[in-house]
Symmetry: C2
Subunit: 488 residues, 2 copies
């Protein structure tokens, strides 16, 4: 793209000032509308070293109330970030609904460096491009405005700036090794940048190239592209987008009604096996810690199916320094204000750690679907979005184990009644549980669709028959052990 | 995409029948809504030879009122079509608002053959991909639903079908050379198809792969993808989409107010030059006919600026068998029901011919903009869409000459008054002309923006100072001659 692009003519000083004033005022006016419409705005400022990315962001935010934006400067990934999937640090920086995030260079810059320095080969590069396209599409599909700006300067201009900045004691620090490297390899960079921009130049998140030779002019272009993008986004109200076909390999799964729940274990067999399996799991936990394998265990199931007790039997075997249990309730306001997967991205384990989710991202296609917390287009899209999410985790190297804890309706009633009548257990049963129970059939239909559509070969569902909780616990332990053994 | 895709499990016969019935009924119900919402639906049915494209379309249309759809079978381009730009025969087949077009293989198949048979090299292939992405984006941006289906069968299944069909006298004709070729080069085809589908798998027009091993099952998948796509499209109401940045090289152009209109020619000089230039143009016309260069001359300008007389001086020099003048009035209902560029695509000249447009596609950013015949998002998007359209024509080899015929407001008043007072000229002046005149300043602003934003180096505007019509005519002739000489 950079190769064919020609800069617009810079307007005369007077016109420039008039347009700048108008654009600044416009951005100020748009703020309130963004808040009203709950529009999240992500502004990616990419470009050449010394092109003035920081300056452009500095000028843009002058016109925005500080409560409504965040600026994130992307330095090299920290040790912690390196132990997360590639998209992690970018996903966690997405704005809340009604607010701006400005990224002083984002995922483009990160991938470009890795590519230009030869740290990633063709295959990994292609995978990153696919991840990025998926990420940006998931954002725009879910109502985000994604504005991608690239600040462009010529080779000579960059050289001049590097010299100028290096010459002064106060500005010397602003020239990085990478800036110099870029200038020395300018033509190679143009090629790689262009091909990246062409690959990621989608209809819903297109690129805008900015002539960054003059500060004021660069600011004006950025303001005009941004305000125009906001205008378009504000004009759209809860847009529906095409539902993508599943292209991931699937496992054949039974319907819930086909599951034999008459499985049980004698107490003595249970206790013996429990002890052996927990010991084995403990050993494996050490090994995966050393081998830096991340593990994600996801629990879903009927209320009172026995998720809590099942989880306890897993964690009982683990070193507390190496795992975390995330109980997932309704989202907090700051979570509700973001992409529904955000609160799971932020809770991902580091490599070598285990994260156990007590209820999960599958809320989107169960409670959110059935209670109308999201639109039909939203939950229909979610099957694919979740398969994509788990594919990212799998490609990162994670072991993903998903449990559906299954009981029948009568068993649930027994357990509810027992909870109600046992003083120490009353906290465990709420009116909501009874209300959900009334929707059993609708939930069953939703769960069946979920299991059919998200049992990918890399992250299949495992059904735990839990009328006999002992049976379910032993089965869960065995599956966890088996899955870990595959990678250790 | 084909490589990673795995077929869904085919449902049992009973479930299949139930779902088929439901999907057929749904499509029938959607018809009326499509009509009401004026949604145009383009269904591309691509796939392997003998995969049953015709059959799937046959089944789909059984459920649609014949007044609401057209089926186009894409054979090899005709001689006539070969003399038009690559996208021509695809653009002319787009549906009207409220109707379906089914393409029994479309642009994918055409490009795939050319690619696989080695008729186009890497560069031309890359250009085609860009054209196709642009085309599909222009459709979805302008409110079209584009459903892209690919009917997939395995190598062995294809081989079996070819054998079976060839074995029977009645079906022998259905196996083409290309079908056999595909089967012999199956793996190479998979690679090329996959890469094509990946390149064109955009968020707004994604691909859907259909397991075409069984007829009924293929029909069901097609119906379900189609009806789901329609549901999503119906949920959206006049969606706004991002305005793309101009990335085409531009020429610097003056504002209308900066144009010196005091240019004139003496009658005798005019007559002498007219004669010489027309003779020269006549010669060039012969040469471009033989060299098969297509020429597009576009006239825009103020009412009474002298477009008609100017055009006459051009056509006076031309062989009537080699040109056509297209007077462009408000669109007919069947034109209004399609993409605004459709009526210009259908009027493109063949190679070696000249098409002269008296008013043009620029109506989108003048009258349609000012009279509110399209949305703000529509006309703002149009600058880029038009630059893309003209780029397609330029890449095809066309010479594009665009004239803006300029007069001042007083001159227009004089001419209007003269027309009003001269019995033979009264037909030339209407109430609308007077109404437009009242909006002179708004038009001037729109025209200035248009000229600034669409003067690409490959199709720049030429200003004809037409207070002295003689001057404007000679200037137009000289420009046409000059532009033709560049390519002859």
């Amino acid at each position: 793209m950079l190769q064919q692009w020609k800069p617009m003519e810079k307007p005369q000083e007077e016109e420039l000032s008039i347009r700048l004033k108008a654009a600044r005022e416009k951005l100020q006016e748009q703020q309130m509308k963004i808040k009203e419409h709950k529009l999240p705005v992500l502004v990616l400022v990419e470009g050449w070293g010394t092109a003035g990315k920081g300056n452009v962001i500095g000028q843009l935010i002058k016109n925005i109330d500080p409560r409504f934006f965040k600026v994130a400067s992307m330095a090299a990934p920290t040790e912690e970030e390196r132990r997360k999937p590639f998209l992690y640090r970018h996903f966690v920086n997405i704005p809340e609904a009604g607010k701006f995030s400005f990224l002083d260079s984002g995922w483009m810059n990160e991938v470009m460096r890795a590519r230009l320095y030869g740290e990633i080969g063709d295959e990994e590069y292609a995978a990153r491009i696919e991840s990025i396209k998926m990420f940006e599409r998931q954002l725009t599909d879910n109502g985000y405005l994604v504005v991608k700006l690239f600040l462009h300067i010529g080779k000579k201009e960059q050289e001049k700036r590097i010299k100028q900045l290096s010459g002064e004691k106060d500005t010397k620090w602003r020239v990085s090794k990478n800036d110099r490297w870029q200038n020395e390899h300018y033509d190679a960079c143009v090629k790689v940048f262009s091909s990246y921009m062409k690959d990621t130049n989608t209809p819903s998140a297109p690129w805008y190239i900015i002539d960054a030779k003059s500060k004021k002019w660069a600011e004006l272009q950025a303001l005009e592209f941004l305000t125009e993008g906001i205008d378009v986004a504000l004009a759209n109200n809860a847009m529906a987008v095409p539902i993508l076909q599943n292209v991931f390999p699937m496992e054949k799964m039974p319907l819930l009604s086909e599951i034999d729940l008459n499985k049980s274990l004698e107490v003595d067999v249970y206790e013996k096996e429990l002890k052996e399996l927990q010991q084995r799991l403990g050993e494996l936990h050490n090994r995966l810690y050393r081998k830096k394998v991340p593990v994600i265990i996801a629990y879903e199931g009927w209320d009172a199916a026995g998720k809590g007790g099942n989880i306890k039997r897993i964690t009982g075997a683990l070193d507390p320094r190496g795992y975390e249990v995330h109980p997932i309730a309704s989202p907090e306001p700051h979570e509700k204000a973001r992409h529904y997967l955000w609160r799971f991205w932020t809770r991902l384990p580091k490599t070598g750690h285990i994260a156990i989710f007590d209820r999960t991202w599958y809320g989107r296609v169960m409670v959110e679907r059935l209670e109308g917390f999201c639109s039909e287009n939203d939950w229909k899209r979610a099957f694919n979005e979740i398969n994509e999410f788990e594919k990212e985790l799998h490609d990162w190297g994670a072991v993903i184990i998903k449990f559906w804890v299954q009981i029948d309706k009568d068993t649930q009633l027994e357990r509810f009644t027992d909870r109600q009548n046992t003083p120490g257990k009353q906290w465990k049963i709420t009116d909501e549980d009874w209300r959900n129970r009334e929707k059993w059939d609708l939930y069953e239909e939703a769960v069946n669709e979920m299991i059919q559509k998200t049992s990918t070969t890399y992250a299949p569902w495992h059904i735990l028959e839990s009328v006999d909780k002992k049976y379910a616990r032993i089965k869960a332990l065995k599956i966890v052990i088996e899955e870990l053994e595959k990678v250790l």
